[in-house]
Amino acid sequence: MSSTFHRFRGWILAWWLGMPLLCGAAEPHWAYQPLAPLRPPVRPETRHPVDAFVRARLDQVGLTPAPEADRATLLRRVSFDLIGLPPTPEELRTFLADPAPDAYERVVDRLLASPRYGERWARHWMDAAHFAETHGHDQDRIRTQAWPYRDYLVTAFNSDLPYARFIQEQVAGDVLFPTEPRATVALGFIAAGPWDESSLRDIREDTLDRQIGRYLDRDDMVTTVMSVVTSTTVHCARCHDHKFDPVSQRDYYALQAVFAGVERANRTFDVDPAVHVQRQALRREQRRVEQGDDTLLNSPEHLPRLIEWERIEAARVIPWTVLEPQILVSTGGATLKRLADQSVLATGTRPERDTYVLTTPLPSKTITAVRLEVLPEDSLPQKGPGRADNGNLHLTEFQVQLFEPGATQARELVLTEPSADFNQADWTIAHALDGQEKTAWGIHPQVGQAHQAAFRFKEPLTAPAGSTLVFTLKQLHGGSHLLGRVRLAVTDSTLPVHFLPEQIVRILGTPSDQRTSDQRRSLTFHVLAEHYRTALAQLPPPGMVYAAAADFEPDGGLKPSPVPREVKVLRRGEITKPMEVAEPGALSCVTSLPARFELANLREEGLRRAALAEWLTAAENPLTWRSIVNRVWQHHFGRGLVDTANDFGKMGGTPSHPELLDWLAVWFRDDARGSFKELHRLLVTSATYRQSTVPSQPAPTAQTDADNRWLSHMNRTRLDAEAIRDTLLWVSGRLDSRMGGPSDRQFDLKPGIHVTPRVDYTVFDVDSAEGSRRSIYRFLFRTLPDPFFEALDCPAGDQLTAVRNNSVTVQQALALWNNAVVARLAEHFAHRLAAEEPTVESQIRQACEQVWGRPPQPDEAADLVTFTREHGLPNLCRLLFNSNEFVFVN
């Protein structure tokens, strides 16, 4: 009866929503069903809801729960689980001796209050989000500002940020909580994955490859958010409607449209909320200027500013006389052409290196300084002004000689005071005068626009009429970093050099009553732009995080889009087959929520993300709440109630305990108000969690429950890479508890041939300061991950990792047996033991308690003592670090 009703309702809904009708889609799939409050089964033996559900199921299958694990085992288990470190022998003794009935609960409270908790659980989220600190394609550039997001996660877990808030901040924190700097840092989530710098920054804007790159980049954002938060596989609907789940291609592109206004970039945030408000206001005004908002033109607020500016500037204008080059030579074989405005354009052959020699008549007067303009031009790569593929140039040296009429020899003119309106980092204009062929002036990433440089003559030059000037522009860096279009000018002014765009100089030279309205407009916008630039520069320097950003400093071909880009539904996912424009929205199959967002203004990209954040965290969204309790469950029990944490679809796992899953989701959402710490407390205090790993008799068999789905005993887990290294540091007394800040680079770093640096993990000094903090603070290189961590299944950040592989391999054995980290920390551990314990026997006892969580049995002790007497304590420590009893947690 009710199933007929459900089927009927499903059809009607599908028809009404225009959803793809799945063949045989009889029952609505469990994951999209609304969450309903449930009552746990009534059980005489327990009042713990988790146990009530689990035991009811065990009864049904005829299995008996295992007894509680012994206290030492339990303490080791819950310590690794909550903080990623083992208990100290002292903690173990205290717990073993504590007769209070709530001794265990107090241990749990202690662990949850430890800052080590956030360091442990942030890493689970980083796996899920595929966080790493380099781009991960052929140009695997370092993201120097990715770490603030990692710190955000550690703090969020430690401060027990409610889950809905946690997700809202990571998807649209800048929009929903604009006065809270933390919320902007959270956007590192969307940018955590790889980024194709070649396709999205360096190749030409007008190529299909650039368009493909953008769709794929948004695909990663959509996949990350939807897999991690809702456990749906929307990415399977990129080329066609999802084959198994009710996700249409339209839904997929609606989600792409949510991210159509953001790129991955370094974005600023203010630690001080007051400064944040100020900066936002200035940036808002600055944007009005950039967009040419005409209401600014007659604003009484700005009038005094304009007058004052003009008063100061008028006195500072330098009159430049443009030179007319007569002889143009390129030693590299380029064709130099003089244009009508006296600029010189290079075309034809594009050698690796070149030198231009330009000869011009000297204007018959005294000159004090020379100006070099590099100008954009459509025919140049990226519109120039350079000839390099990225539009850059490198001016190695700039020299001027004077030929007086009749002279047989040139006179070298000494230049000084180099200045430029823009210098590429480490490629300043001073390099054009330093006589060094290895250094030069560059303008990247400000390509595609004009730049100016100027040099003053050491002594003002006066020469007879008919003299000529010979300019030598050396461009010896290689890689065709050549000047594309240049223009020379001189002046007799003795004023300090000061750059203004040519157009503004011209306007200043026109009496104000004779200026056209266009000129007045240009001048006003120029002055206001300068004003806001200066005002912003005077604020305290902002923090910077690599995150999703709509507003950021352009970097070459990577530029913010003023309005969201148009996203089209692509037939078969192909860029050459665009169909209709996609409107922002989410999944139609979550029928409790609207599938398309009603937005006040489609041009405001932030509204799109805010709408998705609200959709995701709505109480009516059953996916989100089921997804997160399952994810947390999985980390505690070694396996989720649904064993595919990122896929609640038809091809994913089905819940082993569906009622428990739903009860937990509702309880977490309503009773615990999204508190992770409450959820942990609930789970780890259950008898189910506290069971021994050894099943009761009759033990489950292949027929009853070979893989322990019904949880008749606890699952044994293998320590992950971080827990192993952190424990080694911890027991050897070397763990530095400093939190946060830039990541520790546990490798030697050298410049590479191109963008990707050379990274060598083998020469890293384990004893250095960078080698002693917890592993969550390691720098994470996406295409060159640390081999030791890789061998232990630590993901590289190239794929979402819902659950890590748990491999046993030869490479892993070799890494644990031979890696320098293990070898060195075994020595430190041995030193510490030797310093603290008087005899070999007590040293070994202490070592086993720390590494295994128990003292050795007498016959084990005998073997270990014999071995230690022969080969020394460090070899014993190395041995213990490799033992099964260390790497597995019961």
């Binding site: 490859d209 890689g479 054995a813």
Partner: protein, 477 residues
């Protein structure tokens, strides 16, 4: 479809993968058979015996210029210097530059062998081998950018994080040796290729299937093969006694905890690690090779020594049962590889000179030792180059058409499949997509590319995504 399905079923594969390492499918199956863990899969018949048991892939990093090496196009000579006009309003674009004029290949072409393949003057030694090779003359990429292009050619996807060909092969077939990894990568001595280790990543497959990097030119070519020199306390005696006692402790621990195969697997892994510690240095040492062999591979010449050493090493590795060896020519970056943007005439010949003789030597040596009977040799690159110039003498990236060849076991020798257009700008007829290429290689190894899957993040992932057809024309009957 007459290709056999992969014979290891998914559940077994997961299990084997977890244990993997140097220990491959067959060997492990035997090992674990006693435990009854694999008994549940009689439904899958054993495979037909495929001709190919091992693969050596030579990868020219950067996009080897097809029309300057193998894809002879008279039109480029006739129309040199003219504006490139493919007609019909077709859009011409180059990823990093303004399209220049048609650029004539700066090298002479001649026909070789009975097959009459055209080869340019920069590959004189390979030109003598064309009758052994099957050429894919019109391969096609989906991108003109190195990062995605290299990922596509290696993993079948434009994005990072997917398993590469070698990893899939290792996953499906394991190693034939229990003392060496199944999949070994020999990068250029100058550095790693574009995407660095991303190109030989196991992606979401178990880590044991990832390419083991051997840096043939370094004093410690393999990571963690032995304890660091700085750890003086680890004497050979301590090492041996340590492994013995470790096994004893682990066995005791395992005995107390029944039914967890991971514990036994870890014990096995340490045994195999000890074996690998002994066998790896032996295979890496080239001293035992005769002076004649060393000369054949060009080890006596600085131009060919680096690549030649790695070709010789590849032969030694496959000889000892390594399943898949990938040799790279050229590091990432703008120069010193096959990414010849600036000047074909200056940049391409050194790359050819470094590889031409060693590759010919490898083919000859494999044949002489009978190894070519069951070894497949692949020559590949991530995409081709443009028929028109970049700057004045270079060529920009071109995913439109490029050339690859295969030789050895299972390959129909002396054939050429497909043809590019008049200028080698795009594919003409019988294109080979990267998916088709991967499907063909798997087919030669006795694997059905549609059956070789791994479930990840809600999708049954394949090397060939949802595409791929075996190119029967290059498969020997």
């Amino acid at each position: 479809m007459n290709a056999p399905t992969p014979w290891i079923r998914s559940s077994r594969r997961d299990f084997l993968g977890r244990l993997g390492g140097g220990l491959g499918g067959a060997a492990l199956a035997q090992l674990l058979g006693q435990e009854g863990l694999l008994a549940a899969s009689p439904a899958n018949p054993p495979p037909q015996i495929p001709k190919v048991r091992r693969v050596i892939q030579l990868f020219m990093n950067g996009g080897a210029s097809q029309m300057d090496l193998f894809d002879y196009k008279p039109a480029l000579f006739q129309q040199a210097g003219e504006t490139f006009n493919p007609g019909a309003g077709q859009r011409i674009e180059a990823p990093t530059s303004e399209p220049g004029k048609i650029l004539k290949p700066p090298f002479e072409f001649r026909q070789y062998g009975e097959s009459g393949r055209w080869v340019s003057s920069v590959l004189p030694n390979l030109a003598q081998c064309v009758d052994q090779m099957a050429f894919l003359m019109a391969m096609e990429s989906r991108t003109n950018v190195h990062g995605p292009g290299s990922y596509l050619m290696n993993t079948g996807f434009l994005l990072p994080g997917f398993p590469c060909l070698g990893s899939w092969v290792s996953y499906a077939l394991g190693s034939e040796a229990d003392n060496l990894p199944a999949f070994v990568v020999l990068p250029d001595g100058k550095g790693l290729p574009y995407n660095q280790r991303g190109n030989f990543s196991a992606g979401f497959l178990p880590v044991s299937h990832q390419g083991t990097v051997v840096q043939a030119h370094l004093p410690a070519p393999m990571a963690d093969l032995k304890a660091p020199d700085a750890a003086a306390y680890i004497t050979p005696a301590a090492d041996r006694a340590g492994l013995d006692l470790l096994e004893k402790l682990n066995r005791r621990h395992a005995a107390a905890t029944e039914g967890d195969s991971r514990l036994e697997a870890r014990i096995q892994a340490y045994e195999l690690a000890a074996k690998m510690q002994l066998s790896a240095p032996e295979v890496l040492a080239l001293d035992g090779e005769s002076p004649l062999t060393r000369r054949l591979y060009g080890l006596d010449n600085t131009v060919t020594a680096d690549f030649g050493r790695r070709c010789l090493l590849a032969r030694r590795l496959v000889e000892r049962g390594v399943r898949f060896v990938q040799i790279w020519s050229g590091a990432g970056g703008p120069t010193g590889n096959w990414d010849n943007h600036t000047n074909i005439q200056k940049e391409l010949p050194p790359m050819c000179a470094a590889t031409d003789q060693p590759i010919a030597a490898l083919l000859q040596d494999l044949r002489a030792r009978g190894l070519l009977e069951d070894t497949l040799v692949l020559w590949n690159t991530e995409f081709g180059r443009m028929p028109f110039s970049q700057g004045s003498e270079g060529r920009d990236h071109n995913g439109g058409t490029f050339v690859g060849w295969m030789a050895g076991a299972g390959v129909r020798p002396g054939v050429a499949y497909g043809e590019s257009d008049e200028w080698s700008w795009k594919t003409g007829r019988d294109a080979t997509t990267t998916y088709d290429f991967h499907a063909t290689v798997l087919h030669l190894l006795g694997l059905n590319h549609e059956g070789l899957t791994f479930r990840h993040n809600g999708a049954n992932r394949r090397l060939t995504d949802v595409h791929g057809e075996v190119i029967q024309a290059v498969v020997a009957v």
